[in-house]
Each structure stands twice: as C-alpha cells, then as structure tokens.
C-alpha cells in the first residue's frame, strides 16, 4: 500500500545521521572546501555512525543488518545536505563493501569484509568514471582481458575518491571483446596500478579524488566480483545512481534552506525579500522540485529493495535530480544577490558542487 512514511527504524537512523550532519559536518564544510582537507577525528566520528559496518554480515564481524537502499538514501541525503565532499569521504568504503555484500563470493567476503567491520575508518573506493567528455557506463574504455587465467586491466579512471589511501578499489571495466561490464576487486598495491595526482575540480574540493591508471595490471581470476560469471553489475550501478540522486537532493535542500532563511531575514524596499513574488515563487518552485526529485529517488530505491530491475527509475531519478540540483543551487546564489557570490556564504559552494552531478558517477552507493 502506498505510504510516504519512513519506518520507525529508518526515522531513527535518519535523525541520528541528520544530527551528526548538522552539528559536526556542516560547520566543517567551508574549511574543507578551502583547504581540501577533512579532519581525521570527523571521519572517525562519522565512521562510528556505523553506516558501513552495519550491513556487513555478523559472520564477518559486522552488525548484519539488512541492506536497504531506501534507508541508505535517507542517510545520504542528510550527509550530502551538510557537505557533499565530507559525505563522499565518510561513505567511500561502502563503494567497495556494498558490492561485496551484495554480490561477492564467500572467498571475496572473507578476504575483504572483516577489514571494514572494524572500529577504525578504513578507506576503500570504486573506480567508475573515465576522463572523457563523452563518458558512458555502457562503453567503458577501461578493459579487462582474460589471459592465462588472470585478468589484465588497462586504461584510466578519474573521480576515484580516496584512491591514494584506499586499501581496495572496486574497478568497473569492460570485458575485452564484449559489451559486458565486470567489477574487479583490486588491491591498491597491485603492480600496474598508479594513483596519479590529486584532481583539481570546480567543486567537491574537500574530497580527495584521483585519476587512476591501470597499466597491464594483472589480477587473479578470483578477483572478479561474483566469481567467473560475474554479477548483476546493473544493480550495482543503479545503487550508485540512486545514491547520487539522494545526494543531489541533499545539496539542493541545503541551498534551498539557506536561501529561504536568508530571504526571511533580508529586507529590501521595506519588506522581507521573501515577500516579493519574484523570490517567493523561486522558493516555491525550488521546494516543489526538491520533493519531486526525492520521490523519484525513493521510488527507485524502493524498487531496488524489492530486488526488481530499477534501471529506468534509477536513471530517471539521477538525471532529474542532477538537473534539479543545478537549478535550485543557482537560485540559491541568486536569492542572496551579491552576498551569494561571496565565499562567506555557502550557497556558491553548493552551486559548484551541484554542477557536478550531471557528470558524477560512482562516488556514492546506496
């Protein structure tokens, strides 16, 4: 039966994450954007929320809670609301853990999961995007070639969070000679893996992302996620899409709330600017679009939780949310007028981050 009410447990998780996001993450957002650094205590505190460990089965040291995309997107929206860079850093290990929990073989779970069930933050990541203007998940240029019982990875990825410190990378690659995509669990220390310079982007400046080059990087065949016949990569991509959609909703909501509060305090021509229809209508439309995108995201996540193919829903939610976030964040700046252009306020940061969603893939997973 249709309901838009999160469960009691989901509400609890969301509220806990929201409080942490508001109290701890948000105050650090500007400094991280300017310096490119996130304090390690903050990462550790964020880790202690348990968003990664919770879904690792008890047998591997985790809390063994059911993996729910809906619950994940609720949490992701809150963290991204506070700061996208810090959210991506805190949640980066899930980029590896979720695929392994969802699709890993016994050996893969055994080899990887216990490391991420521990009390201290351990970095892991995924490598999805490639540095081409026409990047397409369906036509990856990083290839995996089967040679004498091992896979050889070749090509370059970009936007790989925490690559320089991650112990493991989940690398999305096209199987040589086919259209099929495989996910490969790669130790960072494997010969042939080079972590290139930290990237400099318009936004997401607090998050350390890298180009990563694979130069005849040879892996044992068992490193293919799911075993010799692979896994449902589409599902993994859809989990990433809904996560990014949720993050876009979070960034947009951040900008909306900031601009709304400002508009109710700032006076011009004798009234609060929120009382001007030019501003009030912008805010009204922002509110409508945020809710619309959130519902698309929830629906896609819900479908994933039912184990159904949610490709259409996830793609539409991601695309809609990316457009929406740009529109909302641009207006956030506009509503603050000249003050929106000054880095004393966060709205310009939200705009720079929001612009990335059209390009981002694989930075987060539900």
């Amino acid at each position: 039966m249709v309901s838009f009410e999160p469960s009691e447990e989901q509400r609890l998780i969301r509220d806990t994450v929201a409080e942490f996001a508001r109290e701890r993450v948000r105050p650090q957002a500007r400094a991280s954007d300017e310096t490119g650094e996130i304090p390690s205590e903050l990462i550790q505190q964020g880790w202690e929320l348990g968003l990664t460990q919770a879904l690792i089965p008890e047998a591997y040291g985790g809390a063994g809670e059911a993996h729910s995309a809906v619950t994940s997107v609720l949490a992701i929206e809150e963290l991204a609301w506070a700061d996208l860079s810090i959210a991506c850093h805190l949640l980066a290990p899930r980029l590896l853990v979720v695929p392994v929990v969802e699709a890993g073989t016994e050996e893969q779970k055994d080899a990887i999961l216990p490391r991420y069930a521990q009390a201290n933050f351990a970095a892991a990541t995924a490598a999805v995007v490639e540095p081409r203007w026409d990047f397409d998940l369906a036509e990856l240029s990083v290839t995996a070639t089967l040679e004498n019982g091992s896979y050889v990875l070749q090509g370059t990825k970009c936007f790989v969070p925490l690559a320089s410190v991650a112990e493991h990378l989940a690398v999305f690659a096209r199987l040589q000679g086919s259209d099929e995509v495989g996910v490969f669990l790669v130790d960072r220390s494997t010969p042939g893996v080079s972590i290139l310079e930290r990237e400099k982007n318009m936004g997401l400046k607090g998050l350390a992302t890298y180009e990563v080059a694979f130069e005849r990087c040879r892996l044992p065949a068992e490193r293919r996620l799911g075993g010799p016949s692979g896994c449902d990569v589409n599902r993994l991509l859809n989990l990433q899409r809904v996560a990014l959609a949720a993050a876009a909703v979070g960034v947009a909501r951040a900008s909306f709330e900031y601009a709304r509060d400002y508009a109710k305090e700032r006076k011009a021509f004798g009234v609060y600017i929120a009382q001007k229809q030019a501003i009030a209508f912008m805010l009204a439309e922002m509110a409508i679009e945020i809710d619309a995108a959130r519902l698309l995201t929830w629906e896609a996540a819900w479908k994933l939780d039912r184990g159904e193919d949610a490709t259409r829903e996830a793609v539409l939610a991601k695309q809609y949310a990316a457009n929406m976030a740009l529109m909302v964040a641009d207006r956030g700046v506009q509503i603050l007028g000249g003050h929106g252009y000054i880095r004393d306020h966060l709205v310009e940061l939200f705009l720079r981050n929001a612009r990335g969603f059209a390009t981002f893939e694989g930075l987060l997973t539900a």
Binding site: A268, G338, R343
Partner: protein
C-alpha cells in the same frame, strides 16, 4: 537603414583587443584565479600604457554633442569589452581605468569636475576609479542607503559603510584614484536626498577594511570601505547640492546604470563566447560538427544544446549593441540597457553551466578554464542590478508603471 556591419574602426579596435585577450590575458587567467588578491602588474601596466593613449574601455558620457557626426564610442566600448572578457573577465575588471566611478563623474559631473577627476587617466602611473553604492543592508534598494553626508563649513563629512566596491582598494588606497560614494544629505527626503560624492584616494577617514573572497572574477578586488568623519571639499559633490522635491537628482545618478549595464552585458557575452568556442573546439576534436540546417528532430542532443546556447548569446549580443547604439545616438536607452543586461546575465549563466555539463569530467576539471568561466559568469546575473531588478525595470517600462506602482 538596418545594418549589422560594424564600422571599420570598431572592427580594427576589436581585432587589436582580441590579440591582447589571447596573448596577454588567457595565459595568466588561471594563475590569477588561484592567486586571489594578487595583482598581475605586468599586464596592468601594459594595459595602462595602451589606454592612456586610446582609452578603449570607458563607458557612458557618450551622448554625441554634434548631431552631424554619428559617434560609435559606446558601440566600440561594448565590442572591446566582449573581447577582453573573452580573454578573462576578472582581469578585465581589474584593468586600471576610471571604471564605474568615472562613469558616474561623466554622467553627473560638471565639465570642470570631469576635467578635475578624469584628466589623471591620461598620464602618470596606473590609476583606478570606483563607485560605492551598496551597503551591508541594502543593495538592490539603492534608495535605502544610510551613509550620510553632512555639510560642515566648506566640507562635506561622510559617515557609513560601503561593501562590494569593485577595484575599491586600488582606487582608495593603491593608486592616485578616487571613489564615488553615494550618500544621503537628508534622510527625510528619501531618494531626492541621495547624492554622489567624489572621495580622493587617501582621504583621512576612508579605510579599506576587507577584500572579499569570491566564487569567481577573483582577479578583481571587491572591497569593503568604511567612512568615518571623512571630510571632502564642498565641490566634490556631483550635481546640485539642492534637495529637490522631485527625484530628479536620484534619477540622474541612476542614469549611470544606463551606461554601465550594456558594459556588463558585453562582458557576460565575452565569457559565454569563450565557453562556446571551447566546446566547439573539443567537439571538433572528436569529429563532431554542428549541422546547421538539419531537421531539429534529426539533430543530436549536443547539437541542439549548442545551437540554443549560440542563439541565446547572439540574441544577447544584439540587444547589447542596440543599447550601446542608442547611447551613441544620444537617445534614451533605460529600457534597452536593462533588457540587454537581464538577457545577457541569464544567458551566460546558463550557457556556461550547460557547457560544463556537455564536457563532463573535462568541464568540471580545473585543468581547463571552462569551470572558471562558469564561476565568473554568475556575477553578471547579480551586479549592476540583479536579474530581478532589471526585469522590474523592463516590466515598469513596458507596463507604464512607476517604481511605486510596481516594486
């Protein structure tokens, strides 16, 4: 006769300025985005030397005096500004020149004042002019300013705080420049009590207290200036000191914007063109050519996006040329100046945002200038009257409402 051909001297100026943009501005654009608050002195000195002779960038005051000789001064100005901003908008805004302060002197000053304040821009070391209207608690609502000017013997005494003054630090502190400050001589008189005053650099009581960190145009300084019992000579007031019943004085001051809005629009268009040129070149590297004349339903999404962006920019450019041309004809351009500014500010914001999207990871990366152009572009939707304020001006004009009836 309707004619879109630029006159030969404007083309010549454009080509010269383009070389400057390409060879002197582009190579340092990234550097002075990152080294915010530092000045590219080689570039600034070179521009100063060139402008002393030709003054390629100065707006307003261009109503022709001799009806027989059509002027192209303002047209040439907007065309040159487009080129400079194609090079780099932040650097363009930081070039030593009379700036907005000069525009105000030109629009509202007496011939004696024009000579006294503007002659310095023809010789000596680099100088800047600036204009200070905006205050912490009012920007769009210029009539609400609270900075006061009180007459004391043969001086005016200024008190108040101004923010976001473009080139304010260079004008007030670092060169033999001046700041035109808007202040009220009589709060009870509302708009009629607002006057513009010229404050010479280094006048005691004028202090630059902050230079802002910004999203874009980081090569240009944006200053906060405090006036504390700042005494200036009586005849540094622009226009009459009388407080008239009507708002004629205020309107005179607002006329400055009729001259400066086309300049902002032109700058916006230059940024947008830079972005489009870059996207086109990247597409061509991939063997993608924009096919004009093919059915819209057969075009790729990129081709459609590109054409929409191109058309929006060209429309904005023509609105801008028209606003400048009206000035050159000595005609009113209040409506047309706001139309150009509103359109260009929004168009360049959207064009650059779309361009970043079209180029994916390349668009978002600081390895290329495109992401910077997106950050630079947004200011054009905000300063010299926000998008909303310019729409209001247009709406009032087309509907025949006063500012009281529609605000």
């Amino acid at each position: 006769m309707i004619d879109f051909e630029l006159p030969p001297q404007v083309k010549q100026a454009r080509d010269m300025v383009h070389m400057v943009a390409e060879n002197m501005m582009r190579p340092i654009a990234r550097e002075y985005d990152e080294r915010e608050h530092e000045k590219p002195w080689d570039f600034l000195n070179a521009m100063w030397e060139a402008s002393k002779a030709t003054n390629p960038v100065s707006f307003g005051g261009g109503a022709k005096k001799d009806p027989g000789a059509p002027s192209v001064r303002n047209l040439q100005t907007v065309v040159s500004i487009e080129e400079l901003s194609w090079g780099d908008a932040g650097l363009y805004l930081s070039i030593p020149n009379p700036g907005l302060g000069g525009a105000a002197v030109a629009a509202a000053g007496t011939p004696e004042q024009r000579e006294r304040f503007l002659a310095r821009f023809r010789s000596g070391p680099p100088k800047w002019g600036a204009m200070a209207i905006t205050e912490p608690h009012c920007g769009s609502d210029t009539a609400a300013i609270t900075t006061t000017a009180v007459r004391d013997g043969d001086h005016w005494v200024l008190n108040g705080t101004k923010i976001f003054v473009t080139s304010g630090k260079m004008a007030a502190q670092e060169s033999d420049g001046f700041v035109v400050v808007w202040a009220t001589v009589d709060k009870s008189a509302g708009r009629a009590g607002i006057k513009a005053f010229v404050v010479e650099r280094g006048t005691p009581g004028m202090t630059v207290v902050k230079v802002e960190d910004k999203m874009g145009i980081r090569a240009s300084d944006t200053a906060m200036i405090v006036f504390e019992n700042c005494r200036i000579p009586l005849d540094n007031i622009l226009g009459s000191p009388e407080v008239q019943r009507s708002t004629e004085g205020f309107k005179g001051a607002m006329a400055t914007f009729d001259a400066t809005r086309p300049a902002v629009a032109a700058s916006a268009i230059g940024i947008g063109r830079a972005a489009l040129d870059f996207v086109r070149a990247e597409l061509e590297k991939q063997g993608i050519k924009i096919r004009y004349g093919v059915s819209r339903n057969k075009l790729t999404a990129i081709e459609r996006d590109f054409m929409d962006m191109e058309a929006a920019l060209q429309a904005a450019r023509l609105l801008t040329w028209r606003a400048a041309w009206l000035m050159d004809q000595g005609r009113h351009n209040n409506l047309e100046a706001s139309m150009a500014k509103a359109k260009a500010g929004l168009a360049v914001t959207q064009v650059t945002q779309k361009a970043v999207e079209l180029l994916g990871p390349l668009g978002y990366s600081r390895k290329y200038l495109l992401e910077k152009w997106m950050r630079d572009a947004k200011i054009n939707d905000i300063f010299e009257g926000t998008q909303q304020i310019n729409l209001l001006v247009v709406a009032r004009r087309i509907l025949g409402y006063s500012s009281k009836e529609l605000n």
